[in-house]
């Protein structure tokens, strides 16, 4: 057995021991959770369908493809969202330039009018195309917008409480996340409103390992005060496909990049 094997084995063992050792710094846990949830690979693509159920159990559906490209790990990112269903939003395209040091730039292309509409920075905690998800849930909330506190560490989860620095910036007064200690994926998020009532929950229903990245493939957001929920399913996920920066421009709003939107083989 070569010395290399022992070195490799040592690294693996140390890796496991590092994981087993509980982290205590809330900011570090949040940073790692942010990477796990939003920055897997350098880029990626996924098809997503949402089933939106209202309190009366009436259903609506959305289907779209998301392309993502990281400029820096944990830093700026770009997203392109191209809708295929239902027919009244077909070919609508949503482009996000996510920034860490300033507000995100967001555009929506409405094909009926050939209109490139820009969305103002303040408009982010509102429904994303009729779902219980918010615009902000699509591209992620900046960790620096909240103060983080580690309130519990169990065998499975880090439990953190987050309070926004600017109380006016969001409809919640705080939220609590259960972060998986192995994968660092946030598995459950509970939002509390200023009246102290739990009113919104985001849950991960299924995680799969894709290209070596633990990846959420089914999630649900529930409106606990009025009822209703949106299920989000992810399929045809692929990481590190080599998306160029040019995919994330006005060009893709008017002419979606079909080569990159194509479903991967296998």
């Amino acid at each position: 057995m070569s010395i290399r094997f022992f070195l490799a084995l040592a690294t693996v063992t140390m890796g496991i021991s590092v994981h087993a050792q509980a982290l205590t710094d809330a900011d570090e846990i949040v940073a790692r959770a942010n990477l796990a949830a939003y920055y897997a690979g350098k880029d990626g693509r996924s098809e997503i369908r949402m089933i939106i159920r209202d309190a009366q159990d009436r259903q609506q559906r959305r289907q779209f493809t998301v392309l993502r490209r990281d400029i820096d790990d944990g830093g700026d990112q770009q997203f392109l969202v191209v809708f295929s269903q239902p027919s009244d939003v077909r070919n609508t395209v949503f482009l996000v330039d996510k920034h860490i040091d300033r507000d995100d730039d967001r555009w929506l292309y409405l094909p009926g009018l050939d209109l490139v509409k820009r969305i103002s920075a303040s408009d982010k905690r509102t429904s994303f195309v009729g779902a219980h998800y918010f615009y902000e849930d699509v591209s992620g909330r900046r960790p620096s917008e909240d103060a983080h506190e580690l309130i519990d560490t169990s065998d499975e989860f880090y439990v953190l409480k987050h309070v926004p620095h600017d109380a006016q910036s969001a409809e919640f007064s705080s939220y609590v996340t259960w972060i998986d200690r192995q994968t660092f994926l946030p598995m459950k998020i509970d939002y509390t409103n200023p009246a102290g009532k739990l009113y919104r929950r985001v849950e991960v229903m299924k995680v799969e390992n894709i290209d070596g990245h633990p990846t959420v493939t089914i999630s649900r957001v529930s409106d606990l005060s009025t009822g209703g929920a949106t299920d989000m399913q992810f399929r045809f996920i692929k990481y590190d496909i080599g998306l160029p920066e040019s995919v994330f421009t006005e060009r893709s709003l008017r002419s979606p990049p079909s080569d990159w939107l194509q479903r991967p083989e296998g």
Partner: protein
């Protein structure tokens, strides 16, 4: 033909079997042809009578939209067409809104050729450098916002590269706005000194067909750190028949324009500024009383989300007529000429509720110089992925008959539309 009963009939015509979204049905890959569209019934009525028009109806139509897309090779072919029974015009119409072939030339150039709707510029329902055709009749009658943009037959070439992207649209045959003709709404005529509603409807002679009478529109644009800069140029004609021949026949005056715009985030919202210089090519000195003068147009706007789901947009727009003294001294109708500066304020309020199930929108145009206004309330109810209901109004008023909105004072209307998407 009365279309009211159709509102009740549509559900039975088009109600399709609810397609269950089976667990493994993620749809076909986009290789085949995709068909979709909608059926819509619309009804609208005048709130006051117009002494010039017997018909109180401003909208009564049944519309079938067919949309299809297919991809032979690297080309995307798109079709969007409407078949309409229009009871106000008592006529069947077919309108192709989009029939284009889109493909790339090399790595950086996108081509889109055919009948298409085009839009650029930063204004919200105010257009300076966007000289693509508009359909104001549809807009005022309460059809979907989409119909404000009329289609034109054009070739659009866009080159995406550093340091600047170049957009060029060539419309070989001049495509005017759909202007007020007296068929659905009466309009002000300076020759008559009041509103008219001629039969057959008013139609202005269009420029002769020639290469130099085509429309050429150019946009240079670039986004730097979230700031969208653009420069514009246009050569063609005024989109409305505002000029007259020597025998006082209305025509479209030759126009060229140059402009610029910026749109950027500012504080919690979006700021836009746009300017355009209109050159009336046949009346550079401004002394020809039958041809419009040069104009300077300026727009500034701000939009932000004031409260969750409640968006506010405000714009100030001014149209400044140059060589104004020359215009007034030579005009046969000095009393009906526009003010030197036509000021316009707009306000858009949008409130969404129930995750966009309900949308209330109120758009107001108000001109303190023309003393006229146009108020546009719209309520949209999206019942599900198929059904939606839209109800709204178009309310006009003004002190004088010869202003843009004042001429429509008898045209205020309310409408309702029911749409089924398939």
């Amino acid at each position: 033909m009365n279309l009211w009963p159709l509102l009740l009939v549509i559900p039975t015509i088009v109600f399709a079997q609810e397609d269950m979204w089976h667990d493994d049905d993620w749809g076909e890959e986009d290789s085949g042809t995709v068909w979709s569209g909608f059926v819509e019934a619309g009804l609208g009525t005048r709130l006051d009578s117009d002494p010039l028009l017997d018909d109180r109806k401003t909208l009564e139509e049944l519309r079938l939209r067919i949309e299809a897309e297919w991809r032979p090779g690297n080309t995307t072919v798109t079709l969007k067409a409407d078949g309409i029974y229009d009871a106000v015009e008592d006529d069947w119409n077919a309108e192709v809104r989009d029939l284009t072939a889109a493909f790339s030339l090399g790595k950086n150039v996108d081509v889109r050729a055919g009948r298409q709707v085009q839009t650029w510029g930063t204004g919200d329902l105010v257009f300076l450098n966007d000289l693509f055709p508009k359909d104001f009749v549809s807009f005022f009658a309460g059809r979907d916002d989409e119909y404000l943009k009329a289609p034109g037959n054009a070739i659009r070439l866009t080159r995406y590269s550093d340091p600047v992207n170049v957009d060029f649209a060539w419309t070989p045959l001049f495509e005017p706005d759909v202007y007020l003709s007296g068929e659905r709404f009466s309009f002000f005529s300076p020759l008559a000194g009041g509103n008219v509603a001629p039969t057959p409807p008013f139609e202005a002679a269009e420029p002769n067909e020639s290469f130099s009478n085509g429309e050429f529109a150019l946009r240079l644009f670039r986004t730097v750190a979230g700031r969208e800069y653009a420069l514009y140029a246009y050569r063609g004609f005024f989109k409305q028949p505002t000029a007259f021949t020597a025998s006082l026949e209305p025509i479209f005056a030759p126009l060229a324009s140059l402009g610029a715009s910026l749109r950027r985030p500012l504080g919690p919202g979006l700021f836009n500024i746009e300017v355009s210089y209109y050159v009336s090519r046949d009346d550079r000195s401004g002394t020809d009383s039958l041809v419009p003068n040069d104009q300077l147009r300026f727009l500034v706007g701000f939009e932000w989300e004031a409260k969750p789901n409640f968006t506010v947009g405000m714009q100030y727009y001014v149209e400044s007529t140059l060589d104004y003294n020359g215009l007034i001294q030579n005009s046969p109708f000095p009393g009906f000429e526009p003010d030197r500066n036509r000021h316009l304020l707009t306000n858009r309020l949008t409130y969404r509720a129930g995750r966009d199930k309900h949308t209330w929108s109120l758009f107001t145009f108000f001109s303190p110089s023309d003393h006229d206004f146009y108020i546009r309330p719209v309520y949209t109810y999206r019942h599900d992925d198929h059904w939606s209901l839209i109800a709204g109004g178009n309310l006009f008023g003004g002190r004088d008959r010869n202003t843009f909105f004042g001429q429509l004072a008898d045209s205020s209307n309310a409408y309702v539309r029911v749409r089924y998407h398939y």
